[in-house]
Amino acid sequence: MATSTAELPESTRDKSLTVRIIPFVDRYGALLLVGVMGFVSYLLEPDVFLTWGNISNIFRQISFNAILAIGEFIVIVTAGIDLSVGSVLALAMMTTAVMTRDGYPLPLLIVAPFIVGIASGIVNGLGLTKLHLPHPFIMTLGTLNIARGLTNLISGGVPISGLPDAVRWMGASDIRIFNLDVPVSIFVIAITYFIVWIFLQHTRTGRHIYAIGGNPQAARVSGINVDRTLVLAYALCGMLAGFSGLLLAGRTNSGFPNAGLGQELDAISAVIIGGASFFGGRGTVLGVFAGALVIGLMRNVLNLHNVPVFWQQVLIGVVIIAVVYLDVLRRRAGSANA
């Protein structure tokens, strides 16, 4: 009896320490990772890394992956996955490029990639919910190929260059604030992320997306229309992929058939590094931003060091495994103390 009371305070203290740390890591873990990455980058490249030119370049580079990733995130929160985003990006980009070549008016050029994206997403969502294909992996693997094929069909398989100034402005220009040239991409990312954050945290549908990811059975018996919500999630993901295609078209002033090839994997990586769970219901918008930024920082510092792009791939793979493993350790520690 005496020994057990003597032990009690110590174990309580340990518990409360873990209890205090875990939510903190939960919320800011990905940002800590950004901080560490930034610091390492700075140590490696003290002359270049913190220059405004380099920083704005990072944001310009991550912009289209960041937009792709936030769409992917919505789907991953439902415990789904969308492999088609890279191809949908290419299809949307090419649609805009082809329409520019054929002389369509500007408003149509800007709306078209969104419509292409929404349509692709609806196809994904309906395939999942109405055809009852066993896993979104299958459906979106199908649309990955379909969208890539269509991209080549509408363009004849060749790049098409030349886009209107307004599109190029969004993807490649700067806005001068005081004496800094701030890339338009930063504002695009900030506004998009803010809207998605409002949507997921503060709208009914957004909360239902989290509920479906947490426990689809609970969502169903609560009267949530699970199928409709899923279709909407995939449509939003597609729409953001289309938007991303528009940005990339603006940045490169062209549409090219290989755009976004394999990009779905970078988008998924950003989401996972940002702390979201493949099992759904978990993750934050801020985390996704941090995840996209971590990948961007890594690419940046490796480029500055002239590390070949193939090694970059190897390192990103290592980081994904390491981050998810840390997450596993953290959860294990968390549940042991629960």
Binding site: A211, G214, Q217, A218, S222, G223, G281
Partner: protein
């Protein structure tokens, strides 16, 4: 006179799944403020009957009456609109969401940003959730905790709070104590008594006769998908009820039910 009308009645309910008969001509009556225990062996049809009452399944034959009115439930929402709520065996809560979000899932109070954009009013929902938990004397650290941080008993309490958050007249509980630690069982059972005192009718499925005898006013037994026996608890003994579950009415509870096969 209105006291005599059951808040929920099932008449001649049958349910077939293909060639399998899950329920055959089952009747059930529940009065306001009554706790009805439903017992039966695995596969006796208890859960199927409850899912029909809660609108999750549609009966193949028979009719349901709520306050004496014939009703047809095509979904749990239809049943819920008539004040019939179910606390699911598998604890239909989303662990990644907060307590208040779980209580109001699908029925969130909204506000309008700039009079246009409909947003979930998290502040109002949290306040209402707290108020409702206080009414049921359920204590949690904060309604903003995630459900996965709660103990099994607390989760069950949240599930019950969820079922009673909107003027429930009937609460159906399928094995609400099965997954709980002993000391939490008592809290859930007291909660059931509280519901009864609020005039809510409760249908209580359990394998634990201790629980049945502690909270129920009346007990009915299903056997092979049929009504088998029924009695007010004061007029039956534990052994008799055990016998019903095993399919005999001799009251010993140990006689093998070989003659029924």
């Amino acid at each position: 006179m209105s006291e005599m009308i059951p808040i929920l009645e099932a008449r001649g309910i049958s349910k077939y799944f293909g060639a399998v008969t899950a329920l055959e001509n089952v009747n059930l009556r529940l009065m306001p403020g009554e706790v009805l225990g439903v017992v039966g062996d695995n596969g006796a049809g208890k859960s199927t009957l409850m899912k029909i009452l809660a609108g999750l399944y549609q009966p193949s034959k028979g009719e349901l009456l709520a306050q004496g009115q014939p009703v047809h439930f095509r979904s749990p929402k239809d049943a819920r609109d008539r004040g019939i709520e179910m606390v699911y065996q598998e604890l239909a809560l989303a662990g990644n969401l907060r307590i208040d979000e779980n209580i109001f899932l699908g029925r969130e109070q909204m506000r309008r940003l700039w009079g246009v954009v409909p947003l979930v009013d998290h502040t109002a929902n949290a306040a209402r959730a707290q108020e409702h938990l206080d009414k049921l004397r359920i204590r949690v650290k904060s309604v903003r905790q995630r459900v996965e941080e709660l103990s099994g008993g607390q989760r069950q309490a949240v599930a019950i709070a969820r079922a009673t958050a909107f003027d429930a007249r009937v609460v159906i509980m399928d094995e609400p104590t099965a997954a709980l630690a002993i000391k939490e069982v008592g809290k859930v059972l007291d909660l059931v008594k509280d519901l009864k005192n609020h005039g809510i009718g409760v249908i209580f499925i359990s394998h634990r006769l201790d629980d049945i005898f502690y909270v129920c006013d009346r007990v009915m037994a299903l056997f092979h998908g049929r009504n088998f026996a029924e009695a007010p608890l004061g007029q039956s003994s534990r052994n008799e009820v055990i016998g019903w579950i095993m399919g005999n009415k001799t009251g010993t509870g140990i006689k093998p039910a070989a003659d029924l096969n």
